[in-house]
């Protein structure tokens, strides 16, 4: 296994011209795209549009009334009672949340309409809305009890979606962020001196998030997008280069010599996988680091962020490496020119649908769906999600899928590898 890897890696490494092209071309392309079309992907909320149905099963007036009535039963001073009653009206939870949903920042990517439950479900099924936010029955009362009296567990709004998407994830983050912040502030308020303080601090909470960011969600700049997308697509080319080098090995009969040593095809393929993995990773690392230093791509990010980025890159490069094994087997099955053509077509196709050449949101819906199933598409989403949300749970699924793809591809390459007498 090791001799094959060493040989393949050296063959790559010695080809200085090709190395230089492989490392510099993507950087040039990123620069050109980034400066030529700076606003194409900047601020993606402008292009995101999440239609949300808001279903209110709760009667807010009634809840408020019952909260006020419950205050009378408590052993409180009259002024406390009346201050809490005023706070309750001001902090009416469903109103605050609606206010948040209709705030300028959130309106940029969410449009909310109020519907009854039945209509909302129908529209969700028809795809007219992508998610439903439901205020469950008793929401107002239970939330006010939690916020103002620190009683009970409170209640969460429910978010229903047919399928997960970046927008739905954003909305979920938004709702969770809202709840957490309010609950936290209330808790701090209680700890530091009573209900009045609580109501004050709660009242300070405006719409969550600042101008550029929505809580837990970073915008992707066009340079970031191009760097990730171009980095991904150029890795795919490494898989093809490997296979073309294998075709040369066959043409120049070194492959025959290898067969004569009685080496197993798996050892041969593993050399291809190993060297492709290293070359793809080297290339990607180079692209990311150079672009980061030239463009200040990911300012003020944590070590954890970089580790996550590296993790996605590692897994993706492994899938590229396994793709190179498939291509190598193909190259042995076909004439060299045919193999080159077939590989180019495959790469162009998965490159396009996977969003490596143009941002995916400009593509028709069904192509976007197909694109999600290409390794480069998966990897690009994983990269983008990591940059936007930095949450391991979000990228775990695409990474596992990439690993599954890799194993399947390696299996396929072994099956495709020509048997003796047909090389």
């Amino acid at each position: 296994m090791l001799p094959f890897f060493k040989k393949d890696f050296l063959v790559y490494w010695r080809d200085r011209k090709e190395m230089a092209i492989a490392l510099l071309t993507p950087i040039v392309i990123i620069m050109v795209l980034g400066f030529a079309m700076p606003n194409w992907v900047e601020n993606p909320t402008g292009d995101l549009d999440l239609k949300v149905a808001v279903v209110t099963e709760d009667d807010a007036e009634d809840g408020l009334e019952r909260f006020r009535n419950s205050l009378d039963a408590l052993p409180l001073a009259p002024e406390e009672t009346s201050s809490l009653a005023v706070s309750a009206e001001r902090l009416l939870p469903s109103a605050m949340l609606m206010q948040l949903l209709e705030s300028e920042e959130v309106r940029a990517f969410v449009s909310a309409i109020e519907l009854d439950e039945e209509a909302a479900m129908r529209q969700l099924e028809d795809g007219d809305v992508s998610a439903i936010v439901t205020f469950p029955e008793g929401y107002t009362l239970s939330t006010l009890n939690k916020w103002l009296l620190n009683e009970g567990e409170g209640m969460a709004v429910a978010l229903t979606a047919e399928q997960s998407s970046t927008e739905v994830d954003m909305l979920r983050n938004l709702l969770e962020g809202f709840m957490q912040t309010v609950n936290l502030q209330a808790a701090i308020g209680f700890a530091s001196g009573g209900e009045a303080a609580a109501s004050n601090s709660v009242g300070l909470i405006g719409p969550v998030g600042g101008r550029e960011t929505i809580e837990g969600f970073e915008m992707v700049t066009s340079f970031q997008y191009y760097t990730l997308a171009i980095g991904v697509v150029f890795s795919l080319f490494v898989a093809m280069t490997t296979a073309l080098k294998a075709a040369t090995e066959r043409k120049e009969r070194v492959f025959h010599r290898i067969v004569l040593t009685g080496s197993h095809p798996i050892r041969y393929l593993s050399g291809k996988i190993g060297s492709t993995f290293c070359m793809a990773l080297l290339q990607m690392t180079f692209i990311f680091i150079v672009c980061h230093f030239i463009l200040d791509l990911f300012p003020a990010r944590t070590v954890q962020f970089w580790l996550g980025l590296a993790m996605v890159a590692l897994v993706f490069c492994f899938s590229v490496a396994s793709l190179s094994a498939v291509f190598t087997s193909l190259a042995f099955r076909l004439e060299e020119a045919t193999a080159g053509g077939v590989m180019t077509i495959i790469l162009m196709m998965i490159g396009t649908v996977g969003g490596s050449f143009v941002p995916r949101f400009v593509l028709p819906q069904w192509i976007q769906l197909v694109g999600e199933w290409t390794p480069n598409g998966r990897a690009l989403s994983a990269f983008l999600q990591w940059v936007q949300q930095g949450s391991p749970e979000v990228v775990a699924a695409p990474l596992l899928q990439l690993l599954a793809f890799s194993l399947a591809a390696i299996g396929a390459s072994i099956l495709l590898f020509p048997r003796r007498g047909r090389i």
Binding site: L2, P3, L10, D15, R253, L260, T261, G262
Partner: protein, 310 residues
């Protein structure tokens, strides 16, 4: 120790190798001669298990190796007709790679590499990249790479094609060394009769996929023992003379050469007078007549009607 039994290979209806049976005894050096497209390389590929025969068998010590290629691959060293090396790697790196595939390691590998490099006379240049080597040097490394695992049988497919005299001498010396001093069995393929004459005890002559003659140098020459070759130098070319001579009964073949013509005639025929008379009739002057005993090249010409090289 190694034999092929009625080996045949067809490519899309075209027969490249046609019922070839040959054998190699231990320690022998055997030549395989034939013009372009005779089927030499295809035969070698079948012996070395790279190509499946359409029909026939390859046997090592009497056991078929078609189904068990591993057996023969271990004892066989094949020098392919093409230069099968990594151009971007150095000679040393190439040999290390192939040596490791033969499961050689560490000091054993290192000493084997140095030994084979010494044998082909390129020890000093081992660190240089193959692509910087001359054609002859590449050929020598091409041979070295087939010798790393001490094969009992070495098959060389035209190892001296298109190279400088110095490299050629080196290669011929290497083959002699392998065969005479190490007792390696050699199958040597070539277009060059004199190489085979020098190196081999026995030879097979192949044409159009078939073996058309085989035997030792002397045995083959005896094929032509009933013939003489006349080289006639003329003052001017004359088609008329060739045509006239072809009519004569003892003349087997007459053809034009650079400065006259060449006749193959039955021995002891009184041909010279007839030639002189014909030349007078055609008004050409004979400058020189040379009678020579047939060479193996002539044997080949006799058998195939072609020369070994175009």
């Amino acid at each position: 120790m190694l034999e092929t039994v009625e080996l045949r290979k067809e490519f899309k209806g075209k027969t490249a190798v046609d019922d070839v049976s040959l054998y190699l005894n231990k320690g022998e050096s055997v030549g395989l001669l034939g013009p372009n497209g005779a089927g030499k390389s295809t035969t070698i590929s079948m012996i070395s298990s790279l190509v499946k025969p359409t029909k026939g068998d390859v046997r090592l010590h009497g056991r078929s190796v078609i189904k068990q290629p591993q057996d023969i691959r271990k004892v066989l060293g094949v020098v392919p007709q093409e230069i099968a090396l990594y151009e971007e790697l150095s000679a040393y790196e190439n040999l290390t790679f192939f040596g490791r595939l033969y499961k050689l390691k560490g000091a054993a590998l290192e000493s084997k590499i140095q030994e084979t490099l010494e044998m082909v006379g390129l020890r000093e240049r081992q660190k240089e990249l193959i692509k910087t080597f001359s054609g002859g040097m590449k050929r020598r490394i091409n041979i070295a790479a087939a010798l790393l695992h001490d094969p009992e049988i070495v098959i060389m497919d035209e190892p001296t094609v298109g190279i400088d005299p110095q490299s050629r001498t080196h290669i011929l010396d290497t083959v002699r060394l392998l065969n005479r001093e190490k007792g390696t069995t050699v199958l040597y393929t070539s277009h060059y009769m004199e190489e085979v004459e020098q190196l081999c005890n026995r030879m097979y002559i192949m044409d159009h996929g078939r073996i058309i003659a085989s035997g030792t140098h002397e045995e083959l020459q005896r094929i032509l023992s009933g013939e003489d070759t006349l080289l006639i130098q003329l003052n001017a070319p004359s088609q008329g003379l060739i045509q006239e001579l072809q009519q004569l009964e003892p003349v087997r073949r007459a053809e034009e050469t650079d400065n006259g013509l060449k006749l193959i005639v039955t021995k002891q025929s009184n041909i010279l007078t007839a030639v002189v008379q014909a030349a007078e009739r055609q008004r050409v002057q004979i400058i020189n007549i040379h009678v020579h005993t047939p060479s193996l090249e002539d044997v080949f010409l006799h058998l195939t009607g072609r020369t070994l090289r175009d």
